[in-house]
Amino acid sequence: MAELKDLVRQWLDSGRVDLFLGYKEVAGHPLPYAFSPDNLEEVEELVVSPARYSLEKLAASILKERPQLKIGLLARDCTRRAVQVLTIYNQVEPGQVELLDLSCCPSRPQVSCSALSPPQVGEVKRALGIDNRLTPEQFEAIPAAERFGRWLYEFQKCIKCYGCRDICPVCFCRECSLEHGELVEPRDLPPEVPMFHWVRAVHMAGRCIDCGLCEEACPVDIPLRLLYRQTNRIVRELFGYDTGLTLAQPPFSVLGVGPAEPREAAGGGK
């Protein structure tokens, strides 16, 4: 940790970055915090939070307003993948964001991460809905006819908070498909089943970097990660495209040459 703090101070002091996004504790709650060269002494309070916030999304939102800044981030493996996607879609320019790696994925379990503690899944949900811990392979072992019913069980719980979109580090469209009346009827609770979730799943193809933040933000525990993993597995099988692991254009940006989403149009779903 001391080493990490030294690096952050060095980055800020040398002007390598103008801001560094990490975490600081307030009354026992780790909160995202922007460290700056003006108060280097605060870096002593930098913590690595087991509670994950999308620091890359915060960085993108600052850069939208202040494109001249260079921002450093505490980066987990999922952050790195997200930044790749944000770069492909022109939300972040190369060089605007510097990542300080935490190397945290389950394969290297030395750093805490909320995704490391598996969710508790109740017996009724396992019987009627979907166990959030299932892999796509395990889920597909369930007979197809039964799988759809299980998705319906999950989708009908949806309270239409849009949290899956709002927390997503790679959701940045100026106009959100979920808010197109032709695709999804507004006003209803639960939102149109299954269209709401299908529309979002399709939109996540070639974009979702499997960070799991959506599922953590879902008030009713819909297994969103599984849904988008299934989607991206199809993308991998059909197009040989590994989302988040490459800077190559995703197979779906062939619609237009150049930026998939013009930079000035970046407004996010919100």
């Binding site: 709650h29 509670a51 309270i159 908070c161 008030p219």
Partner: protein
């Protein structure tokens, strides 16, 4: 210049913890507080949109006084001294129980406390209630 400020959602009685994303004195977004005992990092549609009403063009940006039948923006001094003067006249003429105070289920504890103290100690009436029944 860039901060995440802890707050509490004001759209129902659950009291979900939120963070306002603030850049140079403007709100950019609302995030759920991941470690909050009530919502544990989740919000509903209203919570996620909490920042949107704050800087709305529809917000009042100063006090108003009715002059010749129409509301005009005036200084705080003028609005306050008018209100204080009229309240005092009404209390003097009809007694303190001719005044009613409606507090709010939307303002803070401190403000509700001051408001009932205002009714009781300043005006001298227990005619203070709030709209929770409605």
């Amino acid at each position: 210049m860039y901060r995440l400020v802890p707050s509490v959602c004001s759209y129902c009685g659950a009291g979900c913890g939120v963070l306002f994303e603030v850049l140079d004195n403007h709100l950019l977004s609302t995030l759920p507080l991941k470690t909050h005992p009530v919502n544990e990092g989740r919000l509903c549609i209203k919570g996620w949109s909490l920042h949107e009403y704050v800087e709305s063009d529809m917000r009042l940006t100063g006090p108003y006084l009715r002059l010749n039948g129409r509301l005009h923006q005036v200084t705080w001094e003028r609005a306050l001294s008018f209100a204080a003067q009229r309240l005092k006249e009404i209390v003097a003429r009809y007694g303190p129980d001719s005044v009613g105070v409606l507090a709010s289920a939307k303002i803070s504890n401190e403000e509700n406390y001051l408001l009932q103290k205002f009714a009781r100690a300043v005006v001298g009436t227990n005619n203070v209630d709030h709209c929770a029944r409605l």
